[in-house]
Subunit: 393 residues, 2 copies
């Protein structure tokens, strides 16, 4: 046995998203990129805001002395302060700079959070369908995933969550706006969850944490509001990423914001800092740390994604597909016209359309469309979507 | 209990280096930065090569379209190829681009390697003294550290390593040029190690891997040669960082290079790619990936460090300190004039000199000086070093 047994197993069961992505690369070579409709990956195609480029040029030109040295593991003081100020301004909260840890994106943030919180066999509740990487992030630190069903519109099923909490429950992990559904949990839904977690924390005499993965926080449509979990529930931690709001997923920068009301909050902060160090992140890339100080009010133009969503929803509705219209993020979770989603995805593949089976997200009977693509890809794919659904009739 | 028990314990025993660093920050506030001689941290003070700045400005200006998107988890094809080409050119090897994974520095690389290789209870041999983070990196994935003594000049003690290998041994982790000693293992020493590992791999009918942590690879003095482990031993893996060679430790970029001769090498590569993904690194920061393509032949001016080493060695020798003259990196591991190194470090602290006790590296009776500091810091600290050793007489 060369490599770790668990890793060998994981490779064999490797992510369906990546498989589609690789399949897509092969198809593009064969048919030409404009003849393949690749909706498989959430790699945003919208440009970063102009201000980002301006700041990058600015910092590159000024880059004279020691600008690339290690920062404290938690990030630069000015970056932590700028983030805390923005969170406070947006939600009327009172975080100090030291309630913020600058992270290597939301993926880095979640790994640091779970490493800090989880003792072996601690349980983490994850609503279905879920972002494919969550089970890995939890298992990395000996945690055990407990999936719970959501309601028909993908909002949280508070009763199902209630029933799945026990004395080993340490965290509930939510993601809103959601990947893969585009759902944004309502304020009412979040308040009900907070009330339940408060009750259960008391019942089991421990903190049950609400960890909220929010890389799509500002990517919302129709003026919908994303309620603040930090405001709703005292034992809450936010994992945020600039990957989508500023369209820089490859640069690996985001943050962890912890609720100042968490009991023993200083222990938690020390733990997060230690884990940033010992997991080998060390610090978030320093050039990006400097840039995002200046970009707290910048964001990509969400109207572009909204237009894509509308194009896609209209076309698919006309063709006869069923789905809950997404309120945020850039994903559409569509009901497969036949029960076997993997089979349907293979049918779409014959029309050069790449989407990911819902089964890969714990949502069999659906497929996911990532619509962070050119308008032309959406428009030109419609014929294939129509023909495929007609073939099932 | 709020956070994970193991993390709570680790915080309590937190790194001595960081403690000295924090102590230093307080002292600098109190006495003024020029009155504190801070040798505690390996944060290079030499500027990145001019070419780095030029390329950064260049890329910032050209930064037009999709330059910040996710890359493949293993890194950009062009970056992997540039690195493979450089390694091949330097050592006369035949790595392909896919034997290279671009990583978030050497710290990220080592975490990815250990996650890929270690099953629970697998043993990793670590020569003493060692870089303080190694035990964390190994424990993160359920590995067990086995320390082995080195010889008086800090070269590898092959007999000690021989005696410590058993059927649970999976990896021996070396670091040359070494932190904290500055030792560079000779070609003979490495060849002896390779022969031993080859014999033991056969004896136990398994691969015993040589993992070589090489962030200081090019920081060597007096034209000394750093032998290639990839050339010396078939089951070898290199973790490299641009942090020191290009003076960009905060930007988090490095690589993993695997020996093409490893049996089941494709499994290992798949494992490394998967672990880059699931540990939340996702990909090395893309802007840096693009820049280092162009900087394969650039390096900081090592003469600057050599001058600092010589200044320091002359001064300390004159004062009566004993040490093995470092051949590389920017650390000096000095024999404590009294057996209790922690006590001696506290004596130096009274002269506003910050160094780290050897105990923190598993080398009691020594202390570490990181001499990547201004020449003035070295020169002005000498009085304090002299007075302190005289106080012990």
């Amino acid at each position: 046995m060369t490599i770790a047994q668990k890793i060998k197993l994981s490779i064999a069961q490797s992510s369906m998203i990546r498989k589609m992505f690789e399949e897509g690369a092969l198809m593009k070579k064969k048919y030409g990129a404009d003849k393949v409709y690749d909706f498989s990956l959430g790699n945003p195609n919208v440009e970063p805001p102009d201000k980002f480029k301006k700041e990058l040029i600015n910092i590159a030109a000024k880059n004279i002395s020691m600008k690339h040295g290690y920062t404290p593991n938690a990030g630069l003081a000015e970056t932590r302060k700028a983030i805390a100020d923005k969170v406070n301004k947006t939600y009327g909260l009172k975080l100090r700079a030291d309630h913020v840890i600058v992270s290597c994106g939301a993926a880095g943030a979640l790994n640091v959070i779970f490493k800090s919180l989880l003792d072996p066999k601690d349980e983490v509740i994850v609503p279905l369908p879920y972002f494919v990487e969550y089970p890995f992030y939890i298992d990395n630190y000996g945690g055990v995933v407990k999936f719970v069903q959501t309601q028909a519109d993908f909002s949280l099923d508070i009763r199902a969550i209630d029933e799945s909490i026990n004395k080993r429950t340490k965290v509930i992990l939510i993601n809103s706006p959601n990947n893969p559904t585009g759902k944004v949990y309502s304020k009412k839904n979040i308040m009900e969850l907070a009330a339940l977690l408060r009750k259960k924390s008391q019942e089991f005499n421990k903190n049950i944490y609400l960890v909220s993965d929010e890389p799509y926080n500002e990517i919302v449509y129709d003026n919908i509001e994303v309620p603040s979990v930090l405001k709703a529930y005292e034992n809450s931690i936010v994992a945020y990423s600039y990957s989508k709001t500023l369209s820089l997923p490859g640069e690996r920068v985001g943050y962890i914001a912890v609720n100042p009301k968490i009991s023993e909050v200083n222990d938690l902060i020390s733990g997060l800092i230690l884990c940033t160090r010992i997991l080998g992140f060390v610090n978030a890339p320093v050039l990006m740390q400097r840039i995002i100080v200046k970009l707290q009010d910048a964001a990509v133009d969400v109207k572009i994604y909204q237009r894509k969503r509308d194009l896609l929803c209209e076309g698919l509705t006309k063709a006869g597909y069923k789905f809950a219209k997404p309120q945020g993020a850039f994903y559409l979770f569509v009901k497969s016209p036949i029960p076997d989603d993997v089979k349907f995805v293979k049918m779409l593949l014959k029309k050069n359309i790449l989407v990911v089976p819902g089964s890969g997200f714990g949502g069999p009977g659906y497929f996911r469309i990532a619509y962070c693509v050119d308008d032309a890809t959406i428009i030109n794919s419609m014929k294939g979507f129509e023909e495929t659904i007609n073939d099932t009739r």
